[in-house]
Symmetry: C2
Subunit: 394 residues, 2 copies
């Protein structure tokens, strides 16, 4: 059979992280790839209790039956309350859509906005799934410069003027992959710049709750006065990624389009999962869970930073994030993280090559380290192995 696949599928390889998923499943592999929450942070017992009550409760048949595309009402109501934590208060049920993980929010946004050839501005480097999703819509990602404060607002405005993008995609809190956070002043400027030029901003915030240092900053969505911001959040990093439950927040006209797109894609997000997250939030389980887990993540981050200082050559640069799941590493110019990767995997330690996060595939000398899903011992051992390899070539 000669398969005539669509144009969008030509040259579309799998997402780099997903492709190495099987490799990383080797039992003795130390993986700093992926972006998984710590296993011990997953609230299995609490979810078991909630599921049990829901499935024996008065709404059990409603939970197992088809539901509305917009989402399960109790979940949307819990979601509206949750958004107040992000400074997003001026919203009703018309502003929200239940999504099957935050990533589906990006996909639905592309479906609603992107024609073939449309430009989307992304921070360089950016979340690699956005680059992957954009390919499936034949959109064109263009990178915006990043400095220590995340995306550079001046370069952002210059590129908005130059490229007339359909939207800007940004992770302002503990960015994936860099771990950087956009400061308050820059958030205000980004809100202002995108509104002034009538450009949509997709503010993706899966990591915002995972802060161990500094103060929570208001979302850019909370500064949105023109309806140009789509705020995406997810309960993957704070409850369970396997549940696939997130929330999209936008102007009702945008939510209507995202909803039509979602109708076609998967009818609705699994109701049991929405109901479990709703109950989890309503029972006030999130804050105690964060209080338990954030110190755990900080401890892992501190351990990785300490190991980097100890084992890596001094010429290697790295971020020291105030929250989230990732440390970003810049090797000296000319050193290839890709070449290193093969040697690292031989030594049973893995990371994600930084070039996968660049719109133009540059960043050959960069890599992303995840610390949340490894033990302290694995962190020390794995970073030591990487350090040894680095000292052979630097």
């Amino acid at each position: 059979m000669d398969y005539r696949f669509s144009d969008r599928m030509q040259n579309l390889k799998g997402n780099a992280i997903r492709m190495i998923f099987k490799l990383l499943a080797q039992p003795d592999m130390i993986s700093f790839a992926g972006g998984m929450p710590a296993g011990q942070a997953l609230p299995a017992a609490e979810i078991a209790d909630i599921a049990d009550e829901l499935l024996h409760g008065k709404d059990a048949l409603k939970i197992l039956q088809y539901g509305g595309t917009e989402g399960y009402l109790p979940y949307l109501q819990s979601g509206l309350k949750y958004l107040a934590r992000k400074g997003i208060t001026d919203v009703t049920l018309d502003n929200v859509l239940a999504v099957s993980g935050g990533q589906q929010g990006i996909d639905l946004t592309c479906k609603a906005f992107i024609n073939k050839g449309d430009v989307v501005l992304v921070e360089d480097p950016t979340y690699l799934a956005v680059l992957h999703i954009l390919k499936t819509y034949e959109g064109v990602p263009v990178g915006v410069k990043s400095n220590d404060d995340g995306i550079d607002p001046d370069d952002l405005e210059a590129k908005i003027i130059r490229y007339h993008p359909k939207f800007v995609y940004l992770v302002p809190n503990f960015s994936n992959p860099t771990g950087k956070t956009v400061p308050l002043e820059n958030r205000k400027r980004i809100a202002e710049i995108t509104a002034k030029h009538g450009v949509m901003l997709v503010e993706d915030d899966p990591y915002g709750e995972l802060r161990w240092e500094g103060e929570q900053l208001p979302s850019i969505k909370s500064m949105d006065r023109t309806g140009n911001v789509i705020y995406l959040t997810s309960f993957s990093k704070v409850i369970s990624p396997g549940m696939r439950v997130g929330l999209a927040v936008a102007d009702p006209a945008v939510i209507a389009k995202l909803t039509i797109g979602k109708q076609a894609t998967d009818v609705h997000t699994a109701t049991l999962n929405q109901a479990i997250v709703s109950e989890y939030l309503d029972r006030g389980l999130l804050d105690p869970s964060l209080a338990r887990n954030i110190p755990l993540y900080k401890q892992k981050k501190d351990a990785m930073i300490a190991a980097i200082r100890r084992y890596f050559p001094a010429s290697v640069r790295y971020t020291d994030p105030q929250g989230g799941l990732f440390i970003w590493v810049e090797l000296p110019e000319g050193v290839s993280a890709k070449d290193l990767f093969l040697k690292a995997v031989e030594r049973k330690v893995a990371y994600v090559c930084g070039s996968d996060f660049y719109a133009d595939g540059s960043g050959e000398n960069t890599l992303r380290l995840n610390f949340s899903n490894a033990t302290l011992e694995q962190i020390d051992t794995g970073i030591a192995r990487l350090g040894e390899l680095l000292r052979q070539i630097i």
Copy 2:
């Protein structure tokens, strides 16, 4: 804000059924719209037991963590065993992909194959979501004639030659919306015709298990010798639609493309839901459930047919299906099911207008009745009300 939505979103209205979902939620509405399984058929207690065991079991953390896009291994293994019921035996893990409901299988197929302007052949009438999904990919549905045996193989071949379609979409068992079933001889011919012309066939089979009369027929996929058939099934109609769990079955080269598309869309189908379905199948709960529920569905179907005979004018034609969830009604030419719909809803009874199922929006005089989610009393009352309205205009 002046939203610059994508071309695909222009003129794309919500799926007709989903749009009236809220209307149908009125407590005193008798709804023959939708395609929901009967509430009493949803195995809440069994799912509760399974969820409880899974979430307290040794794989609880695996179930709550990120999983592979391909699907949760125990689910895929259960799925392979399940496919033997459909005569599909020559398959391995490389042939299957877990999807978030059967409809996602259609969406991913379009993503993998459809460029703007590509033709897809569908039975006239066909499942309306396919028409909706195709619009989001700017594909062009072309209708193939339907006779008492479902899609007409002669017209199918003529239109394959004329339109060079990317694929043919077909529900051979108890079609949505007509309830018709393609006989064995025609299945063989359809397998042969599509293979000969190198055209993909999407065989969508959500209703095949729900047969109360006649013999189970082998799937067209079981006759596939060239890898041109994509078989989609779903556990929505036999376990729970709210769980959003289905399975796509195809040649490994096709599964690879569907998987890449799914990576971008929602990373993976919720693992808890896959694990629940897997356990449900492995525990042998499906057959006893079917044994309980099929007589229930037949009873409802019989009640609706009896009521139609009793209350509808003799000039109204209707199908009497051997399984599934739907009866298809053809009013005399010139009678508009759309005009009737508004009056029907005023009288608190609802159905889906048939024209929503036609590629070209024709079929003004047709409508679809669902019998599975109404009580026997509602069936009698609702059909009586429709009959009264029909007798005023026919």
